[in-house]
Amino acid sequence: MLHGLIPEASSFAGNIDWLIFLVLVLVGFWFIVAEGVFFWLIFRFRSRPGHKGQYLTGHEKHVERWIKIPHALVLICDVIIIIGAVHVWYIVKMHLPPADYTVRVTGQQWDWVFQQPGADGKLDTKDDIYTTDSLHVEVNKTYHFLLESRDVIHDFSVPVFRLKQDAVPGRTITGWFRPTETGTFDIQCAKLCGIGHGVMVGSMVVETPAQHAAWVAKNTPTSAQ
């Protein structure tokens, strides 16, 4: 549903968009029904000469039905939405698929510091690459990210991936994403973190395997060759 507004560039973006569309359909229906009945009643029972109001205590059967039925239907819609929400939540946040690479993302006041595995693909080894403004990843590879913060609460957010997770100081939070589109996308900080919150911009550069290998080779720290 969001496709027109923002591209889907990660594997679970589709699931989240589907859920938003499901909620829109169910909730939109009830919204239109309620507003429709609302405006119709205002017009139908507007004050006119000779028109007199009725006395209803709300317990008359024919009137009460009009509340009981929508009440039950809203309950059913809510159950459907709950199932959809928990399903998507399980896929994105609770279940970690096996990772091809692991990166460490550290938020600090007003910049992101990325620690990426070098050519050996292992984190915390000699050939790790430290960058602060862009995270270079390979398309169609599953990445785990270890999210930390050095000072205040930040939020690692990549809108096109539909990825958003707070970085809480003192905690290491693990999440995953799997890019499906190449290109350069925004990384935002989505939690107010002080004066420089507005400049905490990073770029998520999704490259083809060849480009990525070339980038790694170029940026591996000289000593590790």
Binding site: I6, F31, R162
Partner: protein, 580 residues
């Protein structure tokens, strides 16, 4: 309350009400009359609404025309931008919505509507306003101290709010916290007064289900506030010590935990939004019942759904923290409870809409505001489901979608609901009738631009624009959305300009408006049985009203008038009035 003793204790009404009458200015500053205190809260709340509105104008201009100097303000640096949004959020909730909706309408109407001459503790009532005034002074002066106002948003998440090294506003953050704490104390004192007055000081003959909706809702809101604010007061003490004594309650390196504050805050935060919602619903119900000339559709259904919402609101708080680092398994529980709470609210809306069925609707200004509340609040309620569903919240959290959602709930509550109540009770409060055409111009001039501010913000939210960013030029993917931000800002300016129509209408009516009769809208509740404006002590001590029926007996078959005030004794043997 539910099982109030059937025979209300007919303690013969001893304790008279004459005492030396204050004179001159002292009458307005030192009075313990619940009506004067209500006016003090009302005017302070409306002044703070103007302050909050001005802050919104300034930062919306910065968003629409980044980097340019804002007329009437100047250059908006990032630090000042954060201070502006924090002050706007805090002032609009704590110093506009709560004082006007709970304290002003509650103080003025609860004693009048339940047939009492004043609140049970008049001096405690006066003290609560004085503590509130102190909190107003502290929050306003916190904007001008060295380092500027606190810039950590009204949620004040530590470690940003706990450490001056991070928020760079050492004085501003402590003063903000002190102002909020004082405001809590003021509303705790006021709350005890409201709850005890409603529980004990009802007119003889007024049983639990004869109480009009507004007192019920304001007292239910006070109970929710009192029971939810406790942990946050403890949290505020800890945060204050972190800020000033260097303790480490929220500093992870020293054994603290920033997530603790989020839990403490939102355990209060979510009941808080229902604390301001229920009085607004109470006002809207009174206005709709009066102008639709119709009995409320299921008085008990409304009361039970309001109580259910109040209880459930304590189970949902962590839907504000789905992606804030809480354990993902907890999020499932809170998704379920959040969607469950949408059911009583939905039923309340259905019942309000159903009240219009079979009515004789007169579209005067108060009714327009009440109906607009219903129409707009439906959008707010409906968009809440997107955010309550944890899966969708992953994308929508902290975006402008959230901002548009809560403005579609807060604006109907704090502005539309307040104007509904203000225009409805203006004759009773000030003794003069407001001009209806000016009222309608002001109504349409506020409602139409309001939608043109926040519908565009929904679109921005879906595009992934996140909140609290002072300049979106730094984000390549969001630069192309600038025209939408300009549209929202222009609609805000138009809406603010229309407010002068309202001020003109009020001032003109004060000076030379037509005198208001006792019961201009032909309503049933007790406040319309005293003169307007009501004298001190409301009724003479020996003519305190007695209640014979429910508050919404409109178009009753046994009566030729289309209304039946509560205090009129039944002429002949009262026909067994149909089930309430």
């Amino acid at each position: 309350m539910a099982q109030a003793s059937a025979a209300t204790v007919h303690a013969h009404e001893h304790g008279s009400h004459e005492h030396k009458e204050l004179h001159g200015v002292l009458k307005y500053l030192w009075s313990t009359d619940h009506k004067v205190i209500a006016m003090q809260y009302l005017f302070t709340g409306m002044f703070m609404a103007m302050v909050g509105g001005f802050l919104a104008y300034v930062f919306r201009m910065q968003l629409a025309f980044p980097g340019k100097s804002v007329p009437l303000f100047g250059y908006v640096s990032p630090g000042r931008y954060n201070a502006l949004i924090t002050a706007h959020g805090s002032i609009m909730i704590f110093w506009v919505a709560m004082p006007v909706l709970i304290a002003a309408f509650g103080n003025f109407l609860i004693p009048l509507m339940i047939g009492a001459d004043d609140m049970v503790f008049p001096r405690l009532n006066r003290l609560s306003y004085q503590v509130f005034l102190l909190s107003v002074i502290v929050i306003l002066s916190s904007l001008f101290v060295k380092g500027g106002g606190f810039g950590g948003a009204w949620t004040a998440y530590p470690p940003l709010s706990a450490n001056a090294k991070y928020n760079l506003t050492p004085l501003g953050s402590s003063m903000w916290l002190m102002a909020v704490a004082l405001e809590f104390v003021a509303f705790l004192l006021g709350g005890i007064n409201f709850i005890t007055t409603l529980m004990n000081a009802r007119a003889p003959g007024m049983k639990a289900y004869d109480i009009p909706m507004l007192p019920w809702m304001v007292v239910l809101a006070s109970i929710m506030f009192m029971l939810s604010v406790g942990p946050l007061i403890a949290g505020a003490i800890m945060l204050f010590f972190d800020q000033n004594l260097g303790t480490g309650f929220y500093d992870p390196a020293r054994g603290g935990d920033p997530i603790l504050w989020q839990h403490l805050f939102w355990f209060f935060g979510h009941p808080e939004v229902y604390v301001v919602l229920l009085p607004a619903v109470g006002i809207v119900l009174e206005v709709i019942a009066t102008f639709a000339r119709k009995k409320l559709f299921g008085y008990k259904t409304l009361l039970y759904t309001a109580a259910a919402t109040a209880v459930l609101s304590f189970f949902v708080w962590a839907h504000h923290q789905f992606i804030a680092g809480i354990d993902p398994r907890m999020a499932n529980i809170f998704t379920v409870t959040t969607l469950i709470i949408s059911i009583p609210i939905a039923e309340m809306c259905f019942v309000i809409i159903a009240t219009l069925y079979g009515g004789n609707i007169r579209l005067s200004t108060p009714m327009l505001w009440a109906l607009a509340f219903m129409g707009e609040f439906l959008i707010g309620g409906v968009t809440g489901i997107f955010l309550g569903a944890s899966g969708a919240d992953i994308y929508l959290h902290e975006t402008y979608f959230v901002l548009a959602h809560f403005h579609y709930t807060f604006f109907p509550i704090a502005i539309i609901g307040t104007f509904a109540g203000f225009t409805y009770w203006f004759p009773k409060m000030f003794g003069k009738m407001l001009n209806d055409t000016l009222g309608k111009i002001h109504f349409w001039g506020t409602i139409i631009p309001f939608n043109f501010i926040f519908i565009p913000l929904f679109i921005l939210g879906l595009e992934g624009q996140q909140r609290r960013i002072y300049d979106f030029q730094n984000f390549p993917e969001l630069q192309h959305l600038q025209p939408i931000r300009i549209l929202a800002t222009i609609s805000l300016v138009v809406m603010l300009l229309f407010q002068f129509v309202f001020f003109f209408n009020v001032i003109r009516t004060w000076i030379k408006g037509p005198k208001a009769p006792k019961n201009p809208w032909h309503s049933n509740t007790l406040e319309w049985t005293v003169e307007s404006p009501p004298p001190h002590g409301n009724w003479p001590p020996d003519q305190m009203p007695k209640v014979y029926r429910g508050p919404y007996e409109y178009n009753h078959p046994d009566r030729e008038d289309d209304y039946w005030p509560q205090n009129i004794p039944p002429e002949r043997e009262p026909t067994p009035s149909p089930a309430r």
